[in-house]
């Protein structure tokens, strides 16, 4: 344990440097604003803001991205509570009891307790991150290409099975993502692949144009006619109104503790994350607590899932930073940014760059503290922000997207790439595909190919090498089971839906 304390001190030293503090604040602040605005999720806000990170040091850049990430999650809950519109998908659960609380005039309390629960959940998640990362990194140092390949397959399969409705559609998106990731020159031979003679594609499809197009542009197109805005409902958000009653405090502690545990667990698993963790926590609280108040403004229904959500946000960094394998699309983008900054995430980062790793971890904690301090006085501002109609906001959002791409590459060709990705993103969304597995495939594709080829090269073309170690066998076996289970589930689902349709026709 002494080692952990030393690491924490080292991390705090880095996190408290004025520059890092400043960027942490900027990240948290901008993240919260963007999270509050419906139609901008974590992915869009990270894609929007990460061109700025190219101008600063890698540590500060990461600290800022982390801040944007959990700041957005936090902001998302605010609009869920006040508007019944989740600002980010993972805050959908906050609508269930948060909005009824707001209707009962307890919006201030709900927001305050959300802040407290987020901070608590975040802290537990960070402790889990600190405790488990060095262990995982230490064992990951022994991993070879076959193990990494297996882990990546498992991560991608899990992401496409659990997160999206249809197994086959999820896998299709992963595969399309991998192919898109392969565009550009081949690392081994320099052969240009899938570039069709376009110079703009020689270095591959740029991750920013891809993410902004697929998430940003298509999100704006979807939201233009569908986003509701805050009505004339007046919320009492004075400091007095925010204070929870003593019984509300008592009712919140255990859900927060349980929620944090649930969140820490699901956050670290590939393919799951904040949304699933918060649903799990909600279900658990509903089973434990008095059910009649749930859905009508039970404080447990807000604090439990909110802790789970934020704990999951933190532990999601465990596989990303220790193995270099992102479990969620947000982590995939963060991984992409790290690679652009010249950091190849993996066990070596934890071992060789402890200042970066622990600095980042401790900055999460500092950032969560900032959220707590920042948001209590700022709640009134968020409420006013929510009253701005979306039709005044989306031209500015588009401007940020396009200018973000332009200033990153200084080249108008990338705006065309953005346009194509945006159109593609909207069409696949219309066809019922999820974009999350695509972005995971996109980031992992080139890494997977490298490990795939290296494994074959080392084994002399023997495919048995992919199953040579216990870890690889477990990963590939679990992937196969997940695929079968997912296929079975979606098949029975369809049968049920079809039967429902037949019954409805009568």
């Amino acid at each position: 344990m002494g080692g952990m304390l030393d690491n924490a001190m080292l991390g705090l030293e880095v996190a408290l440097q004025p520059e890092n503090l400043l960027f942490c604040f900027i990240g948290v602040f901008l993240g919260t604003i963007l999270g509050v605005i419906p139609g901008i999720g974590v992915l869009v806000s990270i894609s929007l803001l990460f061109p700025i990170t190219f101008h600063i040091e890698p540590v500060a850049a990461l600290v800022m991205l982390g801040g944007i990430y959990y700041g957005t999650t936090y902001g998302g809950s605010t609009s869920a509570i006040l508007l019944n519109v989740p600002g980010t998908p993972s805050s959908a659960v906050a609508c269930l009891d948060g909005y009824p609380m707001a209707q009962k005039g307890r919006a201030g309390t709900a927001l305050f307790m959300t802040t407290v629960a987020s901070f608590f959940g975040g802290t537990v998640g960070i402790l889990a991150l600190m405790g488990f990362s060095p262990m995982i990194a230490a064992s990951a140092l022994k991993f070879g290409s076959a193990e990494y390949f297996g882990l990546m397959v498992l991560g991608l399969i899990a992401a496409s099975t659990i997160a999206s409705g249809s197994m086959l559609k999820g896998i299709a998106m992963v595969l399309v993502g991998i192919l898109m990731g392969l565009v550009g020159s081949d690392v081994y031979t320099g052969t240009m692949r899938f570039t069709f003679g376009q110079m703009a594609l020689y270095e591959g499809i740029s991750i920013i144009a891809l993410a902004m197009g697929i998430f940003g542009i298509s999100e704006v197109v979807t939201s233009i006619r569908s986003v509701k805005r805050a009505g004339a409902v007046r919320h009492d958000i004075s400091f007095r109104a925010m204070m929870p009653t003593r019984s509300e405090m008592r009712a919140s502690w255990m859900p927060m503790i349980r929620g944090s545990m649930i969140g820490s667990f699901f956050g670290a698993l590939p393919g799951t994350g904040g949304l699933i963790a918060s649903y799990m926590s909600y279900a658990a609280e509903k089973r434990i607590g008095k059910t009649e108040t749930f859905g009508k403004g039970a404080i447990q229904g807000v604090t439990g899932p909110e802790s789970a959500n934020n704990a999951a946000d933190q532990t999601a960094f465990i596989p990303t930073l220790t193995l270099g394998i992102p479990g969620s699309p947000t982590m995939a983008i963060i991984l992409g940014v790290l690679i652009i900054h010249g950091i190849e995430p993996g066990p070596m980062v934890v071992v060789n760059q402890p200042d970066l790793f622990w600095g980042l971890v401790m900055s999460f904690w500092v950032g969560n503290l900032m959220l707590l301090v920042l948001n209590i006085p700022m709640v009134g501002v968020w409420v006013r922000l929510l009253r701005i109609p979306f039709h005044l906001m989306y031209p500015a959002i588009l401007m940020f997207i396009v200018m973000g791409v332009l200033t990153t590459y200084n080249n108008a060709i990338q705006v065309w790439v953005l346009l194509i990705m945006g159109a593609f993103g909207y069409v696949i969304r219309y066809l019922g595909f999820q974009a999350a597995p695509l972005i995971l495939g996109f980031v992992l594709g080139p890494l997977m190919e490298e490990h795939f080829r290296r494994t074959l090269l080392l084994s002399g073309g023997d495919f048995g090498a992919f199953l040579s170690s216990g870890i690889a066998r477990v990963c590939l076996g679990a992937s196969a089971l997940l695929v079968l289970y997912g296929l079975y589930l979606s098949w029975t689902d369809r049968k049920r839906l079809a039967a429902g349709k037949a019954a409805a026709r009568g």
């Binding site: 399309v176 081949d186 197109v221 233009i224 006619r225 945006g422 159109a423 429902g500």
Partner: protein, 152 residues
């Protein structure tokens, strides 16, 4: 009466087509190598063959277990206008700089929603342009032409 030409089927056909095209393209254009020494074509060919298979699966699923459509409508007007707006930006920027490009982007995209009069749309576009120049030129100091091709 059952219509087979639904969105599910289109989806399956799209994935199948994409997979098949990519498989044929990859295996004919790039060297496959051997398993012992994999070439640049091997992995893309494997991945796109898998994609073709998934497409077959989606097609089978759509034909054997058709389900009612629950997906949202295609937002034609916002879609077209946002795309045209971004295209306008990409066309204008290299010649006239980003101030006018942003103005065009905002103005064209604001027609996707018809809640505002033209004068208000113009004001909005001007404000967004102002924000862009102030932020990217003034605060971030980005060295890209605000007006015209070079210089300023």
């Amino acid at each position: 009466m059952r219509s087979y030409l639904n969105r599910d089927l289109m989806t399956g056909a799209l994935i199948f087509g994409l997979g098949l095209a990519a498989t044929l393209y990859a295996q004919s254009s790039y060297q496959l190598g051997t398993f012992r020494t994999p070439g640049p074509g091997l992995f893309p060919t494997l991945v796109s063959s898998l994609l073709t298979l998934v497409g077959v699966g989606l097609l089978l699923q759509a034909l054997l277990a058709p389900v009612p459509e629950t997906l949202p409508q295609f937002e034609t007007r916002p879609f077209v206008l946002v795309m045209v707006a971004v295209a306008a930006f990409a066309v204008i920027f290299p010649y006239l700089g980003y101030a006018l490009a942003v103005f065009a982007l905002s103005l064209i995209s604001s027609f996707a929603d018809d809640q505002m009069k033209l004068t208000r749309k113009l004001v909005l576009a001007a404000v967004v342009t102002g924000i862009a120049v102030l932020l990217f030129r003034g605060i971030l100091g980005v060295r890209l032409p605000v007006f015209g091709m070079g210089g300023f």
